[in-house]
């Protein structure tokens, strides 16, 4: 429930009225979806340039890296490519019923991978270091 009821109401699931509510939700969603072309959650280009920062006198490689970012709607029904967690699917349903109280799930990275950077230190020693979680590989609804 959206209002934070702690205890479970034993009679809720047997009430036929809930089943009708769920049906109405599904129908309403189908209509809304067709009229609202907002883009679903997906990966977008975002390039971070060390060269443009004027750092090429100490960073040997790379000149920059494609970091990407995630953006888009996590709206009902969550599409297959949105890598939605079960929780996100349920949260989307609840948001659909109570938009003011429960937000839609977030569009965020679900897989990240690292990059390596080769650079000089102040003494001209050369350092090659791996940095984790720098590049978005996949986005999803959470």
């Amino acid at each position: 429930s959206a209002h934070g009821h702690k205890g479970r109401n034993p009679n809720r699931s047997k009430n036929p009225k809930n089943a009708q509510d769920a049906l109405k939700v599904a129908e309403a969603a189908a209509e809304t979806l067709s009229t609202d072309p907002k883009q679903g959650c997906k990966k977008h280009e975002l390039y971070v340039s060390f060269r443009d920062l004027g750092w090429q006198d100490w960073i040997i490689a790379p000149e920059g890296y494609a970091a990407y970012y995630c953006q888009g709607e996590c709206a009902f029904p969550l599409n297959s490519y949105m890598n939605a967690t079960n929780h996100a699917i349920v949260q989307t349903l609840v948001h659909f019923i109570n938009p003011e109280t429960v937000p839609k799930p977030c569009c965020a990275p679900t897989q990240l991978h690292g990059i390596s950077v080769l650079y000089f230190d102040d003494s001209s020693n050369v350092i090659l270091k791996k940095y984790r979680n720098m590049v978005v590989r996949a986005c999803g609804c959470h």
Binding site: Q39, H44, E45, L46, Y47, V48, S49, D52, L53, W55, D57, W58, I60, A61, P62, Q71, S116, V117, L118, Y119, F120, D121, D122, S123, S124, N125, V126, I127, L128, K129, K130, Y131, R132, M134
Partner: protein, 258 residues
């Protein structure tokens, strides 16, 4: 500077940054790279820590860790691959390591510092290693050039020592790390394992008194290393001796309060 995908309206607003904001932004990126400030290497010393060798390592792991088919392996010591290459051993070290560092030889390039036993000295400053990093492997590398017919069939002993003590505090005390037999006519990198020594230096910086290299003929006569083609000092920059260390770190970095 961060360029954006204009296809979709983005929540980033392009605006001119005030200099304070610019500095804050650069400090944030530097903190991700684990750097307290922006390094300012000296232009004339940039070649001294084998950047080309390190670029080979960078290229090796930048192809997602798979070893590219054409990648230049070489047999343990000698090859005709030319001045810089990565061994298969290095690739194994690389996969486990999260950081690799090559160090500038602090003994002046053209200074023929020969110890009392005509050994050649090398020193490396390991004080700049970020905290929490442990040496998983380390090598000392020196290049041997082809020297023509003069010593054609001769072989020599090349030995590398760790300097334990040195004058004026005491008598010179050396610890033999590794010895290699080399043919006079061969050419390529000589690679000596100095992992244990490097770990000791990282833990006790003041015990880092450097290395010494000795060259002897097979009958034990001390020979000037330069005569059999060992390169340092005046030789080409990409053949200068250097040290490379592979590190396995904790990778846990706490972000400071903003």
């Amino acid at each position: 500077n961060i360029t954006l995908d204009n296809e979709v309206h983005s929540s980033f607003i392009q605006r001119r940054l005030r200099s304070q904001e610019r500095r804050e932004m650069q400090r944030e990126i530097l903190s991700i790279l684990g750097l307290p400030h922006r390094p300012r290497p000296h232009i004339y010393t940039k070649q001294n820590a084998a950047p080309m060798f390190m670029l080979d390592l960078y290229n090796a792991i930048s192809t997602d860790g798979q070893q590219p088919a054409g990648f230049s392996y070489y047999k343990p010591v000698f090859t005709t691959q030319g001045p810089r290459m990565v061994t298969q051993q290095n690739s194994i070290f690389l996969n486990d390591a999260n950081m690799v560092m090559s160090f500038v030889n602090l003994v002046e390039l053209d200074q023929d510092v020969l110890s009392s036993r005509h050994n050649r000295e090398f020193r490396f400053d390991l004080s700049r290693i970020p905290e929490g990093e442990a040496v998983s492997a380390a090598e000392f590398r020196i290049y041997k050039d082809y020297i023509g017919e003069h010593y054609e069939n001769e072989t020599f002993h090349v030995s590398v020592y760790q300097v334990l003590q040195e004058p004026p505090d005491s008598e010179e005390d050396l610890f033999l790390l590794d010895t290699r037999v080399v043919w006079a006519i061969e050419e390529g990198w000589l690679v000596f394992d100095i992992t244990a020594t490097s770990n000791q230096w990282v833990v006790n910086l003041d015990q880092n008194l450097g290395l010494q290299l000795a060259l002897e003929s097979m009958d034990g006569q001390s020979v000037n290393p330069r005569l059999v083609g060992l390169v340092w000092g005046r030789g080409p920059r990409d053949k200068q001796p250097f040290m490379v260390a592979f590190f396995k770190g904790t990778e846990v970095r706490l972000r400071s309060v903003r």
